[in-house]
């Protein structure tokens, strides 16, 4: 690097400068070669540096500029050397720069970022300016290194933007997350409520089938009876209204029950023989009264080859047809309703029936055809007002038909009418004879059986310890049938109390294992420990749990009765452990 040489040096200063150079030269003497090499190296670095490097003297004139600096100012080296910024830059920039430079000359290292427009583009430069000491403390100029950091700046800027972007995205995400959390907890809350509501609904439905249906039947029945009596026109109207409302409510209740049963997969389908034609006629008979108020006629036709017997669930089969017919009548003012029944397919074992119901009613817009099979949907809101109903009918039909291996669908033209199709896969009846009645096995044996099962002679007296009222009642009934006189206890403690109070009154104890308060094993232990070693104690427990028998016997019990309770088993055990032994004339029911 060339030494800054000030042309305004005083004589003394010059002397000093020379002296300094001398000193340096002397210092460097021995290392001349090395210094030359370092200097050349340094020169090369300065020359080839991408950064602009410059040296200004005390009067802020350039005494050194490297090619990068020249390129930056777009001036040849001679045009810069010996000049100050005032000669090169605009006066405003030059003044600012000068101020900074003076600062540096007073001994401070300055870093600055300045912006210059080059070729019409803003460029940012980072400049480091250091004071250049001569010999000793004296400052003789400044050296500057300036680097174009536009790219870095831009990258930084981009990074900042990206960061800000990310931050705002983050904030958004956090917001969304919060919302999600909120929604989830809300959903959970709703689900919980729905759960509770569901439970309440279940309870309600269960109650409904009894509590509502019974009085409702009363209302309908008495309304019907009232209609048989002399009434004036208004009264008749009103009573008919009562009956009709009652019937609507009843069918709604039935529908809702059916619906929840199907939804829960609890709908059971029977497989019994029935005559489809008969069933069609029956539906027509049920529908006929509804035709009277309207100018409607009804036709029932059966296709060729319709068998006299098929096997399936006639009640469900009828339910679907009845629903479709009901709709047809409901949504048709005049014209004809045709119910047809055809065989669609048949093989060795099965038969697919195709039922169609054609009406000439208000029809269904094309767009709504798919929806009407959804629960609680009706074509128009006004439907409910005008025609009543809840919109459950078809959804029930759809599900029932599906479970019968068929389908329900519709075609329709508004104001022309609708055709509803219903298919169901039924089994062929094994019974070929038309009109055959299939009877249940006769149940007439019951009386004689009862007599047979009675024990002659003294009855066995049983203490029955069982907490569940249902099991208690069933066991008591079966024990009585086996010729016992039964006294009951609701838990082990009660059993112990009852027995110890009057041991002579009992021949045998039947003991449930799992009971509240005191279980069967505990009760047995107390009895056995209390000196009642001989009374037969029969354990009653779920037979599925293996090892139970051993536990019971090890616990001092005499024998073991598996649950679910079977009559034969009870009878066998009673007989086995009765004091009368085998003398009882109990005759087991032939199975």
């Amino acid at each position: 690097m060339a030494r800054p040489i000030d042309d305004h040096l005083t004589r003394e200063q010059l002397v000093e400068e020379v002296a300094k150079l001398n000193r340096e030269l002397l210092e460097l003497e021995g290392k001349q070669e090395k210094t030359d090499a370092s200097r050349a190296e340094l020169q090369a670095i300065v020359e080839s540096a991408k950064d602009s490097i410059f040296i200004k003297n005390l009067s802020l004139k350039y005494t050194l500029v490297n090619p990068s600096m020249c390129r930056l100012y777009a001036l040849p080296q001679d045009a810069i050397l010996g000049k100050s910024d005032r000669d090169i830059l605009d006066s405003h920039t030059a003044l600012l720069t000068e101020e900074v430079d003076r600062n540096v000359l007073s001994g401070t290292v300055v870093e600055e970022e300045i912006c210059r427009i080059i070729d019409g583009c803003p460029h940012t430069f980072h400049t480091l300016k250091v004071p250049l000491p001569g010999g000793g403390e004296k400052i003789v100029g400044l050296c500057g290194i300036s680097r174009d950091i536009t790219d870095r700046k831009q990258a930084e800027e981009a990074l900042r933007n990206a960061k800000a972007d990310i931050e705002s995205k983050n904030r958004e995400l956090t917001d969304i997350n919060n919302q999600l959390d909120h929604a989830i907890s809300r959903a959970n809350e709703i689900a919980l409520r729905a759960e509770m509501a569901n439970f309440a609904k279940s309870q309600f439905l269960a109650g409904m089938s009894h509590d509502i249906r019974t009085p409702l039947n009363g209302i309908i029945g008495f309304a019907e009876m009232l209609l048989e009596t002399p009434l004036d026109a208004t009264q008749r109207d009103h009573v008919q209204m009562i009956r009709q409302s009652g019937q609507m409510l009843l069918s709604l209740i039935n529908d809702i029950l059916d619906f929840s049963r199907i939804e829960a997969g609890m709908m059971h389908f029977e497989a019994i023989d029935f005559d489809p034609r008969n069933l069609g006629l029956e539906v027509c008979n049920l529908i006929r009264p509804k035709l009277e108020a309207k100018a409607l006629s009804m036709t029932f036709r059966t296709g060729e080859g319709l068998p006299a017997r098929v096997k399936g669930d006639p009640a469900r089969f009828r339910q679907v047809i009845l629903n479709l017919m009901d709709n047809a009548v409901k949504f048709t003012e005049s014209g004809e309703i045709v119910l047809s029944m055809d065989v669609e397919e048949m093989n060795e074992t099965h038969i697919k029936l195709h039922i169609s119901v054609v009406d000439q009613g208000i029809g269904i817009p094309q767009g709504k055809l798919a929806y009407i099979f959804e629960p609680f949907t009706q074509v128009k809101r006004s439907t409910t007002r005008k025609y009543g109903g809840t919109g459950l009918g078809l959804s029930i039909c759809k599900r029932l038909s599906g479970q019968m291996g068929g389908d329900v669908w519709a075609e329709s033209a508004v104001d022309k009418g609708s055709t509803f199709h219903f298919t169901a896969l039924l089994s062929k009846s094994e019974n070929r004879l038309r009109g055959d009645r299939i009877n249940r096995p006769a149940r007439d044996a019951a009386d004689g059986e009862n007599r047979n099962s009675q024990v002659s002679g003294r009855s066995t007296r049983v203490l029955l310890a069982e907490d569940n009222p249902v099991n208690q009642k069933l066991a008591a009934l079966l024990l009585e049938k086996a010729g016992c006189v039964v006294d009951t206890a609701g838990n082990g403690k009660e059993a112990v109390t009852k027995y110890t109070a009057a041991p002579q009154d009992f021949d045998m104890i039947f003991m449930d294992i799992q009971m509240p308060e005191m279980n069967g094993l505990e009760a047995t232990k107390i009895l056995r420990d209390g000196g009642f070693g001989t009374i037969p104690i029969i354990a009653m427990t779920a037979h599925a749990m293996s090892g139970d028998r051993e536990i019971c016997l090890a616990g001092g019990m005499t024998d073991y009765l598996a649950k679910p309770i079977k009559r034969e088993e009870i009878a066998r055990i009673v007989k086995k452990w009765s004091p009368a032994g085998g003398q009882d004339s109990y005759v087991p029911r032939p199975s």
Binding site: N217, M225, A264, D275, N468, V470, N471, P564
Partner: protein
């Protein structure tokens, strides 16, 4: 559910059978209510007891669907698969109970006056 068949299987008169069924409806509903509350509270012991009671009683009455569901709940409880499966099965059990109630009421001796409305005549039997 067919009362006549179950009565036959249990070798009870239909009247007795019906009576027990009604008893079961009452106590079973109660147990299921307890079961639901216990599950909600997380009271395993109570829940297991209630499920056990329903299981046993329904098995005795040959209500196999109900018994199986109650058994599943009991098993889940013992395996401490607490909430995963219980709720769902519980709901099924509840519906099953309703279904049972409905069956029961339909099959109960219908009054001669109203029976016609409630019970369409069965054919084929």
């Amino acid at each position: 559910m067919n009362i006549a068949e179950i009565a036959e299987e249990l070798s009870l008169e239909e009247g007795d059978c019906l009576e027990i069924m009604e008893l079961f409806l009452e106590t079973g509903m109660d147990d299921i209510r307890k079961l639901a509350c216990a599950i909600e509270r997380g009271d395993m012991k109570q829940a297991a007891m209630a499920a056990h009671a329903v299981k046993g009683a329904s098995a005795n009455l040959r209500l196999l669907d109900l018994s199986e569901m109650a058994r599943q709940i009991e098993v889940s409880i013992h395996r401490e698969q607490w909430h995963d499966r219980c709720q769902e099965t519980l709901h099924l059990l509840q519906v099953g109970m309703i279904s049972f109630a409905d069956d029961l009421f339909r099959q109960r001796e219908p009054s001669p006056l109203f029976g016609r409305l409630n019970q369409p005549p069965r054919i084929g039997i």
